[in-house]
């Protein structure tokens, strides 16, 4: 399912294996989180697909570099799991352990990526402040600069918003505390009257983890009924949401059992 505008085909390397089909970065993330068993996956198949993707689609340098790096990361993760560990007594005392050097490098790279993500958010906050002399920093928008954010993009962005403790927590959602219908209305009210709102800002209205999860489910409903479109600029981590002007409000109302006065207006303002 793709929300709002759809991403042009071929701009991103996608993995298709037995239990998974989607972007490579999410795949590596799931392997690292041990949600997917890398031992059952044919890394050779992924490497072959990557080589074909690079030849057939000629992606940009950034996309190609990232795909190669992530695939290398995946190969490393699998090799590390397959190789037997060296008993401590056999290890050379005077030489650095090659695997620990590699682990250190991966940690450093992950840290750099996390710092880059932090700076991307900082950049977004800064760009929300405008002043007249700023115009020299603008560049003309390319027609295909804005791309639709799909469900996987929304999921990655949502995972990025959770704290470490929240991401680990098993959460049960009670029907009574935060009904989805009411949350949908709440979300529409947040987006109402604004050209667009960042996903992070929308989710900042959730009071706790349970409400954050219900927010996510509500967002999926809104996207499914084309009441909200999700989009992002190419090369940007940040997803923005906006109400769609000619949304099928009536269908969503019927499905959720929400009355006309509840905040779901006939036509969402642009």
């Amino acid at each position: 399912m793709v929300a709002g505008l759809s991403a042009p085909e071929g701009s991103e390397f996608r993995v298709q294996v037995q239990d998974y089909a989607g972007p490579l970065d999410l795949f590596v993330y799931l392997v690292k989180q041990e949600e997917l068993d890398v031992l059952t996956v044919s890394v050779l198949q992924i490497v072959k697909s990557l080589a074909k993707f690079l030849v057939d689609r000629s992606p940009g340098l950034d996309s190609a570099g990232e795909a190669i790096l992530l695939t290398a990361d995946l190969v490393y993760l699998k090799s590390r799991l397959l190789l037997p560990g060296t008993p401590p007594e056999e290890a050379e005392d005077d030489l650095p352990d090659p695997s620990s050097v590699l682990v250190q490098r991966i940690l450093q790279y992950e840290e750099a990526r996390a710092m880059a993500q932090g700076l991307a958010e900082q950049q977004e906050r800064r760009q929300a402040m405008w002043f007249s002399g700023d115009s020299t920093k603008y560049t003309e928008t390319e027609e295909n600069d804005i791309v639709g954010a799909g469900v996987v993009d929304l999921a990655i962005s949502f995972m990025g918003m959770l704290t470490r403790d929240e991401a680990r927590q098993v959460q049960y959602i009670s029907r009574e505390r935060y009904p989805i219908a009411e949350t949908v209305v709440k979300m529409v009210k947040i987006l109402n009257g604004k050209p667009s709102v960042s996903m992070r800002e929308v989710f900042s209205h959730a009071r706790d983890l349970e409400e954050k999860l219900v927010f996510f489910l509500a967002l999926l409903e809104l996207v499914k009924f084309s009441l909200v479109s999700a989009f992002q600029r190419r090369n940007s981590f940040n997803i923005r949401l906006r109400l769609v002007a000619d949304a099928d409000v009536e269908r969503l109302r019927l499905k959720l059992g929400v009355s006309g006065e509840s905040g779901l207006r006939e036509r969402a303002p642009v």
């Binding site: 940690l107 750099a112 932090g118 900082q122 002399g133 991401a167």
Partner: protein, 177 residues
């Protein structure tokens, strides 16, 4: 009023020193600080479209963040300069580990970063701070005031701390297991 006019007209952040130079010997550093502080309070109290922020080693008059979507909509054909993921990675390595050499950046990223570094130098977000002692005398890179301005930081101390960034210890734990 003079400080307000200068902040309105200036393109770059205005520092204490620039205001002291403007007034010559007539005012003290404390008086400049007080003027800025009372101007800030005045704008906060008014809660209008504009605000005063400390950014890039100085002060600036900007629109309030919540109005950004409207201004973006007004400039439909324009967008602000957003760095690519690769540029963000390189600039963050420089910011957190400065002074740093290109080979140190390459080591962390595992790929050649010379092109990205060149782009960031051209944008003025990073600069050459000197040369490393020893063979090759590699160039040492660091961030600029323009970097602080671009990311809305008052100083390098305002960078998000690495330990505040999510999931790092999870990855560390996974690799240890």
């Amino acid at each position: 009023m003079i400080v307000e006019a200068v902040l309105f007209a200036a393109t770059n952040p205005v520092s204490h020193e620039q205001l002291l130079d403007l007034f010559g010997q007539k005012v003290s550093r404390e008086q400049v600080a007080n003027a800025l502080s009372s101007l800030w309070e005045q704008y906060e109290k008014a809660n209008g479209a504009l605000q005063i922020v400390e950014i890039g080693g100085g002060f600036k008059m900007t629109t309030r963040p919540q109005l950004s979507p409207w201004i973006e909509k007004f400039f439909t054909k324009r967008r602000k300069l957003s760095l690519s993921k690769a540029s963000l990675e390189v600039v963050s390595i420089v910011a957190y580990q400065q002074p740093v050499t290109i080979s140190q950046i390459d080591y962390v990223r595992g790929v050649d970063s010379a092109g990205v570094v060149r782009g960031l130098l051209k944008l003025g977000l990073i600069t050459v701070k000197g040369r490393k002692k020893g063979p090759g005398r590699a160039l040492l890179l660091g961030t600029t005031d323009k970097f602080l301005d671009h990311f809305g930081l008052s100083s390098l101390d305002a960078l998000p701390r690495p330990d505040e960034l999510a999931n790092l210890s999870d990855i560390s734990q996974m690799l240890d297991e």
